[in-house]
């Protein structure tokens, strides 16, 4: 069976992290979200993957290449213009001959999630569903004894708790339905409309309930919880790097090759540190922290429950907590992130809620010394921030703060 992964969208609600890479390439447990999906597929023996790419496709292609290092074969197809899920799927048409599985590239799943669907599929279309208390923002499935009658997008009333995960098994008939799918009010061709059309034609559409992992990280800060969840589940810590005498490693900690953890450092797992990093001396890393490759963490830092992407440099005496930092950041000494709880964060005029958050920092910023970020504040990309600044509001792209 082939798999089609829809990985063309940006993931607007994860800005500023997605200004430079799509959501599928954001790191959790030191792997892009998409890699967790590919691993799950490969474990289920699904190795022929058609990847629908669009926004920042080079990031995906540079990382996965032809797939061989991940045990799969990847064929890339490009969706030009973001015209909805049906339009995205249509791009894969030339490569599909029989039954195939479709997944979103930005949900965290495990192999069991896929095998649940594979083992229980039936009819012309099978839809994987999960039960959730809070259905806000999702599509729900209304069914009669597992036969799907209707999929309601973002229901106003409490009609069902069965959330549509966006993981489907289709046969090639779906492409006929896509051809006659009408454009929706918001100007997109939705795969939901294509499915509804097949239901209306009398095709058998079934749902398969799963209790396995399926996590939809909506906002960037949700990734902190996903990261913590995945780190807890990491089975075998691997220490390939060099831990100097006098450094203490406790619990489940992985350290990549060529990384050096200098004396006096104290690392408590679960945590992952990537390759080619210089940590310390005297750095404290506390649980649920992921640090990418080629990072330099200067002396006397404390980092807690945070995701730090590749090529980041953090100056001495910094305190980083509940924070997401993008790639290629250069941060001076005494950098402090304040944490707030039950924050209300405004993005493009819409209010979002964050349970607990320090800061969110995009790619490629140059932050000088003694900078403090107030709770829930965001720094976009390419900013230049002078010493001594208090970041009390969000900083837009390429800003110069002197």
């Amino acid at each position: 069976m082939k798999a089609v992964i829809l990985a063309a969208g940006e993931g607007l609600r994860c800005r500023p992290l997605t200004l430079t890479r799509s959501k599928v390439m954001l790191l959790v447990a030191n792997k892009p979200i998409l890699e967790h999906i590919i691993d799950a597929l490969a474990q289920c023996g699904i190795v022929n993957i058609i990847m629908v790419v669009g926004y920042r496709k080079e990031r995906i292609m540079d990382y996965f290449r032809d797939g061989i290092n991940f045990g799969v074969n990847i064929t890339y197809v490009e969706q030009k213009g973001q015209l909805g899920t049906a339009h995205a799927l249509k791009q894969a048409f030339p490569y599909i001959e029989d039954e195939f599985i479709v997944l979103n590239g930005d949900n965290i799943i495990e192999a069991e999630t896929i095998s649940d669907l594979l083992e229980n599929k039936s009819g012309d279309i099978s839809i994987l569903t999960v039960t959730r208390e809070d259905i806000e923002g999702y599509g729900v499935v209304i069914s009669d004894n597992n036969n799907v009658k209707q999929i309601v997008e973002k229901p106003k009333k409490d009609v069902s708790r069965m959330i549509n995960t966006g993981i489907y098994i289709f046969n090639p008939d779906i492409f006929t339905a896509i051809e006659s799918t009408m454009i929706s009010e918001i100007g997109e061709y939705s795969i939901i409309d294509s499915i509804q059309q097949m239901i209306d034609e009398g095709k058998v559409v079934t749902m398969v309930k799963s209790q396995s992992t399926w996590i939809d990280a909506v906002h960037s800060w949700d990734l902190l919880n996903v990261n913590a969840y995945l780190l807890e589940r990491c089975k075998q810590p691997i220490i390939n790097g060099n831990v100097e005498a006098g450094a203490i490693i406790k619990g489940n900690v992985s350290i990549g090759a060529n990384t050096i953890v200098r004396s006096g450092s104290y690392i408590i797992g679960p945590a992952i540190i990537g390759k080619n990093c210089e940590i310390g001396p005297n750095v404290v890393i506390l649980p649920s922290t992921t640090i990418g490759n080629n990072c330099t963490i200067e002396p006397f830092n404390q980092i807690n429950n945070s995701i730090i992407n590749h090529d980041v440099r953090i100056g001495a005496f910094s305190y980083i907590s509940n924070t997401l930092i993008g790639a290629h950041n250069s941060i001076g000494s005494h950098f402090i992130t304040e944490t707030g709880e039950n924050l209300v964060i405004e993005m493009k005029g819409i209010l979002h809620r964050a349970e607990k958050l320090g800061a969110v920092i995009g790619d490629g910023n140059e932050i000088k010394h003694r900078v403090l970020t107030e709770p829930g504040k965001m720094i976009a990309t390419g900013c230049n921030i002078a010493s001594g600044r208090n970041i009390s509001k969000d900083i837009p792209e390429d800003a110069l703060l002197i």
């Binding site: 430079t20 490969a42 023996g45 190795v47 022929n48 990847m51 790419v53 496709k57 080079e58 995906i60 292609m61 540079d62 996965f64 290449r65 032809d66 061989i68 290092n69 045990g71 074969n73 990847i74 064929t75 890339y76 490569y95 060529n258 200098r262 390759k275 080619n276 210089e278 490759n293 080629n294 330099t296 090529d311 440099r313 790639a327 290629h328 250069s330 790619d363 490629g364 390419g382 110069l400």
Partner: protein, 606 residues
């Protein structure tokens, strides 16, 4: 990264193994080997350093129906015949891709049991271990052996007592089985066998496969049988190798962010402000006593060498000359043993550079090779070799290998400058920490490459281009012109900006675009006045400048920005801009980008 193949069937095993190995060559090679059993039941094991065709020339014409083969692409360590696979012990021969983590303890154990080791490889441990457990069931012996092994492996095993079975296994290294009609294949990568079959079985971690002519049998490490699903591969091989990119060149330009990391791995000691070059084998004293450096290279590598000249002289105070290989040899060179001769060649096979190094060695000079291909001819020719570790480069126009050469030169200069007390530790620390930021800066340029595309489109019909720069930017002007010539077939000249008025200014007119490499630095004011000179002749000026440089906007038509970095390191960024400019110009002119007319990737003729 290595390639593994195996074959059993009615076909000519040697020919099929070679064909398959060659399909893996795009992933690189530095030594190769194979083991086959002939029709009379005799085993033949053949190994050779260098590319696969070299091995081919030493394998005799024997008829064989079963065998295993291996091609190696080492990024570290020496590719000698001794270390080449297969490795053997008793009846057993093994090819392996991966790393055995506990090989040292296993080795000691085996030595105490009387096993003799001929190579430095971890693979030989596997051969002995399997041999130790082998009585008559090969799969069982492999299973028992792997029970003791920690690490990653993709392996294929041949036993000279069993001419009708191969055994394979994997853990965390790629391995697949190809199914044919009365024949079966083992490979580390699908392209290897796609010519023969598209029916593939993916081997999972800790599975052992017995491969016979009639069929295969898969078991887990406990010996329980596993049912495997067959996959039909429909795959455009070339497209797969390009991983979604329209051309290898663009893919390789993008790979520069990661290949620079590879080049730097283990060589930077930021905290100490020093560089590590274990492979250099030069004492501090020898470095201090150097009177002169002579760099020999051709083509793109020459431009890298030219930057090396500026850097060695500026930072390490060593008089440095650069010559192209083809000129050096016929110029009656004046050389003394106090001169270090550095040969730079991506492929390690450039005939002119090789001959020049040989010539230099005859004067008693120490010779140093900088190359991308481990075990290439130049590494045997030179007294010392430094590898750029850029990974295999397919596009004829060198991109990532050039930038890796530059990185090596920077590191070498810092190393020499520190050893000669020309640079203090603090300055070195600043430079090294700035170097670690370079991949991020390149990433930023790639993010904004559309602007370069637009710029290229504007001048796509130009007949001539000028690239100008001063000092460390001059080599990049040369490289920009070379890239454009190579792939877009537009006549281009790289010029030291101050030299324009001594002649070429006569050629400047309003239909000649001039690319000025002008990041801020010691020669910035000078190049601004050169820009004014060409502007006065109505040329369109494209400036490659710092992104926060507002001054230059007054004088030029288009600015292609680069992130701010240490002045000395800006060539690592301006390079990427000129590469993309050449790429998009060629793209707009619909040229054959990866295989430009009349050119070859590795020039092995003089």
């Amino acid at each position: 990264m290595c390639g593994i193949v195996g074959y059993i069937g009615n076909g000519d095993a040697i020919r099929i193994l070679f064909e398959s190995l060659k399909r893996l060559e795009y992933r690189g090679y530095d030594s190769a080997g194979l083991a086959v059993i002939d029709d009379e039941g005799n085993i033949g094991i053949f190994k050779k350093e260098g590319e696969i065709s070299r091995l081919e020339s030493v394998v005799p014409a024997i008829i064989s129906r079963i065998g295993i083969g291996h091609t190696r692409w080492a990024t570290h360590g020496k590719p000698t015949q001794q270390n080449a696979h297969p490795h053997s012990s008793g009846h057993i021969s093994v090819v392996h891709n991966g790393i055995i983590e506990n090989y040292q303890e296993l080795k000691e154990e085996l030595i105490s049991e009387g096993y003799e080791f001929l190579s430095d490889t971890d693979t030989e441990v596997l051969a002995h271990l399997i041999s130790k457990y082998y009585s008559n069931n090969l799969a069982a012996a492999v299973r028992q052996a792997l029970g003791h092994v920690r690490g990653s492996y993709g392996i294929a095993i041949l036993c000279d007592e069993i001419p009708d079975e191969l055994v394979a296994a994997r853990k965390d290294s790629p391995l697949i089985i190809g199914l044919g009609e009365q024949e079966n294949f083992i490979a580390s990568d699908i392209p290897a066998i796609l010519k023969y079959t598209n029916r593939i079985i993916y081997v999972e971690n800790e599975e052992i496969i017995s491969v016979k002519q009639a069929g295969i049998q898969v078991t887990d490490l406990e010996g329980n049988p596993r049912i495997k699903e067959e996959h039909i591969i429909e795959w455009d091989m070339e497209a797969a190798e390009k991983a979604g990119y329209p051309h290898f060149m663009l893919k390789e330009i993008h790979e520069q962010t990661s290949s620079i990391h590879e080049t730097m791995v283990g060589r930077l000691h930021e905290l100490e402000g020093n560089v590590n070059f274990e492979e250099l084998e030069m004492t501090q004293e020898q470095i201090q006593q150097l009177q002169r450096i002579e760099i020999i290279a051709c083509g793109t590598s020459y431009n890298a060498g030219l930057l090396g000249k500026y850097l060695f002289e500026k930072l390490a105070g060593i008089h440095t000359d650069v010559d192209s290989g083809s000129e050096f040899r016929y110029s009656n060179p004046v050389l003394a043993p106090s001169t270090l001769v550095i040969g730079i060649t991506q492929s390690g096979e450039t005939a002119d550079t090789l001959a020049a190094l040989r010539e230099a060695a005859s004067y008693g000079c120490k010779t140093l090779a900088v190359t991308n291909v481990v075990g290439s001819s130049v590494s045997r020719e030179a007294s010392t070799t430094i590898y750029t570790r850029a990974g295999p480069e397919i596009g004829v126009a060198a991109t990532k290998s050039f930038i890796s050469q530059l990185v090596i030169l920077y590191l070498l200069v810092i190393y020499f400058a520190r050893s000669r007390s020309f640079m203090n530790a603090n300055r070195a620390r600043v430079l090294l920490s700035e170097m670690r930021k370079i991949p991020g800066h390149i990433d930023h340029i790639l993010e904004n490459k559309e602007k370069i595309h637009e710029c290229a489109s504007l001048f796509v019909d130009s007949q001539d281009y000028f690239f100008i720069g001063r000092n460390i930017n001059y080599p990049i002007a040369m490289e920009g012109a070379l890239k454009l010539k190579e792939i877009s077939y537009i006549h281009a000249e790289g010029y030291a900006a101050g030299e324009l008025k001594h002649g070429p200014l006569a050629l400047i007119s309003n239909d000649v675009p001039v690319v000025a490499i002008a990041p801020q630095g010691s020669t910035y004011d000078k190049i601004l006045s050169n820009i004014k000179e060409v502007k006065a002749r109505d040329a369109s000026v494209i400036g490659i400048a710092n992104q926060d440089d507002d001054e230059i906007l007054k004088y030029i038509d288009i600015v292609l920005p680069i992130p701010r970095t240490d002045e000395l390191l800006s060539p690592l960024l301006t390079t990427v801009v000129v590469q993309l400019l050449a790429y998009y110009t060629a793209l707009e002119r619909k040229c054959s980008i990866d295989k430009p007319r009349n050119l070859a990737k590795s020039v092995t003729v003089e």
